[in-house]
Amino acid sequence: MAGPLSKYSFINAKLRARISKILPDEKFNQLEQAQSLDEALALLRETPFAGLEEFYSTTGDLKQAELELVRNEIELYRNIRQHLHHNSVELLDALLSRFEIDNLKNAIRIYFDRKIRNRSADLGAHYILYDRIIHDIPIDIILNADNFDEIAGVCEGTPYGQIIKKYYHTVESEESLFRMETAFDHLYYANLLASFDKLDRKDRTIALRLAGVEIDLQNIDWIIRLKNFYALPLEAVLAAIVPGGFNLNKTVIDELYGAQNVKSVLGGFVKNKYPGLSAMLSSQTSDSTSRLLLIRRILEEIMKQEVHRILAGYPFTIGIVLSYFILKKNELARIRTVLNAKQYARKTIKD
């Protein structure tokens, strides 16, 4: 049986070198201060994101450039996959399925907009991945489908066919994709948690902890959305919650949903498990939007602390792989946010 050193020494060195290339906060400050999208992209020269500028200056299309980012990210996962021990490969496939699920969701949304909402869907169809990620999903057929039966039919043989079959009547009757998309997310996390079974005990503990924090983030995001925008009853919320969270058990979620002030509920576990973040809770929040922002910030900090804890600890575990993906995901999300903000600001000024 391979020991942790032989399993992780190479990938650990490789990923640590890559982590050192993750853009520092200083770069993001510069990006935020850039006066236009062109200037922001110019700042990304001599970084691993140099291709974005090249792509944008050729096409003027930021969404295409973003799609290129997603392609690169998928390539990155595949690249790391080949350096992993076979016990961890399933975990990586589970992580990679996130892209497939997101892509499938986008394709179904385009179909949904066209057929159910009678909106033009052609624009969105250009910003979707048609290549195979894990399973053979004919995105073309989904986009051009006449009904959900056709979509379910072409997804038969993939893990998504059953979900589409089970939920499409609800989608059509409620005119909302929420339940189907929630089911896809549940499937993703279920597969992810199941993939941990092959890991050894130490790796499993670490993976469960990190995935747990991510599930917490996802759950809190949903709770706030469901509470503020959909006003769903508690039972419906609990059905949407992904099991396997690290900090949020059913009782906390129960309280969180009923609380007038979400902050007071968060205070409990933040003070107990992340005392360093207590100061953030004292920020004054008057409306639900600022409350939402504060909670997101706290959760992001929690994730950061978990990742730093792993990076500073014993290096030969699956933690380094998961931490790298989390850091990389955050980096890409930040870049997308900044670039879109620049693009949006320009459009607003023009309008």
Binding site: Q33, A34, Q35, S36, L37, D38, E39, L41, A42, L43, R45, S57, T58, T59, G60, D61, Q64, R114, S120, A121, D122, L123, A125, H126, D140, I141, L143, N144, R346, K350
Partner: protein, 672 residues
């Protein structure tokens, strides 16, 4: 050995001379200003900050915008010079802003057009992808029924409506191919996506489309739809290219003017940045800051000239009672040749003002350690050549100064390897010439002539132990010098690296060498051991009570329990003794890694030769080449890292605090 001597200037000039004095200060670029908040009790009440004519934030914002535009055109502006300062013009914020807005909006409109074309390209690609899947030709319009996603139809519409028809179709992935004209009717083939049928049919109804069979005379037209789309795509791609170069040229065309604007903005930004450190009363302006003593005369002249002598300048030495209490900034004072080693030092930290700057000592120590670990004349030569190539390539790249210095470090390391290679007689792992000192390879492979003083592995290990003792001793002496210069007399004796600590270390060395010289069978006399180790250990016990009583105020609440205080002192003393004994022992033994790496280097080369000898001809040569490359890469890196580790942890920790503040004056070259 020490950093540059600094001096503090406290100056008062008349308000009417403020601008000229600011220009003089910026032009000279030697002042690191001290905020007036550092004044203690003496600050006059009626002082207020100097308000710039144009808010600094606005200038900074404009400068960044200009810089961003230049960057997007691939132009990095260089720092302003004295002439730009002399030609400084007031910033017309609105004018500059509207100029930048104009450029930005022009570029945005190009991007908008690019985006539009890109949408067209994507739509056509969508159609092409479908058409390519089925490989259809125009004459086979009936094929549409077999297609899953494409809808193809032939029809006619009034020629007058063609433009309206084309415009309306633009929102969808579609292709309309002109087939011919019959009177005032245009015959066309329309290819679109089936999913858009509903919307397309509405458009067709609006433009008077009539579905027809392909007219007989047109049936012979054999156009390839795919080729048609490809041609359209090529046109669009060419248009995109044109727009792209238009966007790039736009900045380049304006580059000269943008550069001028940037320089003026930058000079003004720095000018007002200097003034943010000024405090003014109704008629005067006050400022203070640090500069190297050597610049005192020059700056005095400049300020006097700018203010026509109407100024009051007061110069204070660091630590003098009149100096404003502020940490003295540190400027390294090393010749250029030491720059790569200064990089290693500043990577660890900046020495405190007045402390020893270890840079001149790091050079010989680092190189000696590297040379001992990587002693080979040929491989050293390769390293030096690689370093020279790196230095030549990076010389003009200001952004890669760190890599340039690293290249120089590699050159130095290569040179050191060559020297040590000559001393131990190694040339690419072979003994081509007689060693000047000892035969490293011979000793490791067991066929040494035993003619020199170094005849076995233990002798090599001993060299590194002696070397370690020497390095630690220098570190301790530097620590004493720093403590004496800082007037820290108690620490001079009680610090782990102080006199008592060193006394114990020296005693330990004596006892060990005594035992070694007696074949580990003899131990020095009890009195000697007591004098060498026991006495300084006991003297160290004074440290805690000394601190306790000199900081009596801080322990006011604990005075009631003297027993606890005594136990605490006892524990601290025991822990400190343990730290001293184990610390010095491990620090010294740590240097054995130098011998270890050197031995590993020789062993690797022996392995390479053994492998090469197992084959012959080209295979043997290849093994030798690859082996040498591997050894240079692997061992070169290990030796570099280990030499750095020893410098940082065994040498620096004895005396170097690295908590100094680097001297960063506001000058025309200030970093953005």
């Amino acid at each position: 050995m020490f950093t540059t001597r600094m001096i503090q200037l406290f100056a008062v000039v008349l308000g009417k001379d403020c601008e000229q004095v600011t220009e003089a200060l910026l032009g000279e670029g030697v002042m690191q200003f001290v905020g007036m908040s550092e004044f203690e009790g003496e600050k006059p009440e009626n002082l207020s900050t100097v308000k710039p004519k144009v808010p600094l934030t606005e200038i900074s914002e404009l400068r960044k915008r200009t810089e961003g535009l230049l960057h997007s055109g691939g132009i990095i502006p260089s720092a302003p010079e004295e002439t730009h300062l002399n030609d400084r013009a007031p910033v017309a914020v609105e004018k500059e802003r509207s100029y930048l807005d104009k450029i930005a909006s022009e570029r945005d409109s190009i991007r908008e057009r690019q985006r539009g074309i890109q949408q067209e390209i994507l739509k056509l690609e969508d159609i092409k992808r479908q058409v390519d899947l089925y490989g259809t030709g125009i004459s086979d319009a009936a094929l549409s029924t077999r297609h899953s996603f494409i809808s193809m139809q032939i029809g006619k519409l009034p020629a007058l409506n063609v433009k309206q028809f084309e415009d309306a179709l633009r929102a969808f992935p579609s292709l309309s191919v002109a087939l011919g004209r019959e009177n005032d009717m245009s015959h066309r083939l329309l290819i679109a996506m089936k999913r858009d049928n509903a919307q397309i049919n509405t458009i067709l109804a609006n433009v008077g489309w009539t579905k027809i069979e392909l007219p007989g005379e047109l049936r012979s037209v054999k156009k390839d739809v795919s080729r048609e789309i490809s041609a359209k795509l090529e046109n669009l791609a060419a248009e995109q290219k044109k727009l792209e170069s238009q966007a790039n040229d736009m900045v380049k065309k304006e580059a000269e003017h943008l550069r001028e604007v940037w320089l003026n903005l930058r000079v003004n930004e720095l000018f007002y940045k200097v003034q943010t450190n000024f405090e003014s009363s109704s008629r005067t302006v006050i400022f203070t800051g640090w500069l190297p003593s050597s610049k005192k005369k020059c700056l005095t002249e400049k300020i006097k000239k700018a203010s026509r002598g109407r100024c009051y300048l007061e110069w204070n030495e660091p630590g003098s009672k009149d100096a404003i209490r502020d940490e003295v900034p540190v400027q390294f004072n090393n010749p250029k040749i030491l720059a790569p080693f200064q990089m290693l030092v500043s990577n660890f930290g900046v020495p405190r003002y007045g402390d020893i700057d270890p840079t001149p000592f790091v050079m010989p120590l680092y190189l000696s350690m590297f040379g001992l670990m990587f002693a080979d004349l040929g491989q050293g030569l390769i390293l030096a050549i690689l370093g020279i190539i790196g230095a030549c390539l990076l010389k003009k790249d200001d952004k890669k100064k760190g890599l340039y210095q690293l290249s120089w470090l590699i050159i130095w390391c290569g040179a050191s390897s060559m020297v040590f290679g000559a001393l131990v007689g190694s040339f690419f792992g072979t003994g081509l010439f007689r060693p000047l000192w000892f035969d490293f390879h011979g000793i490791i492979s067991g066929h040494s002539a035993r003619s020199s003083m170094i005849s076995d592995v233990y002798d090599i290990l001993s060299i590194t132990i002696y070397f370690g003792i020497f390095v630690i001793a220098i570190g301790l002496i530097f620590n004493w010098i720093n403590l004496i210069r800082g007037g820290k007399w108690a620490e001079l004796f009680f610090d782990k690296g102080g006199i008592f600590g060193a006394w114990i270390y020296a005693g330990g060395i004596y006892i060990t060498s005594y035992m070694v010289s007696h074949n580990y069978k003899g131990f020095p006399a009890g009195t000697t051991v007591f004098l060498l180790v026991g006495l300084p250990s006991l003297l160290l016990f004074i440290k805690e009570p000394y601190h306790y009583f000199t900081h009596a105020g801080a322990h006011a609440d604990k005075k009631s329990n003297l027993f606890l205080a005594f136990m605490n002192m006892l524990m601290e003393w025991i822990v400190e003794l343990l730290e001293i004994f184990s610390g010095y022992l491990s620090n010294t033994l740590s240097f054995m890694r130098v011998a270890g790496l050197g031995i590993a280097h020789v062993c690797l080369m022996i392995s390479v030769f053994t492998l090469a000898n197992m084959t012959s001809g080209i295979g043997s040569v290849l093994i030798l080449i690859l082996g040498n490359i591997l050894v240079i890469g692997l061992e070169g890196l290990s030796a570099g890292v280990q030499a750095l580790r020893l410098s940082y942890y065994e040498f620096f920790t004895k005396f170097f605090h690295g908590t100094g503040k680097l001297y960063t004056p506001i000058s025309l070259n200030s970093k953005i």
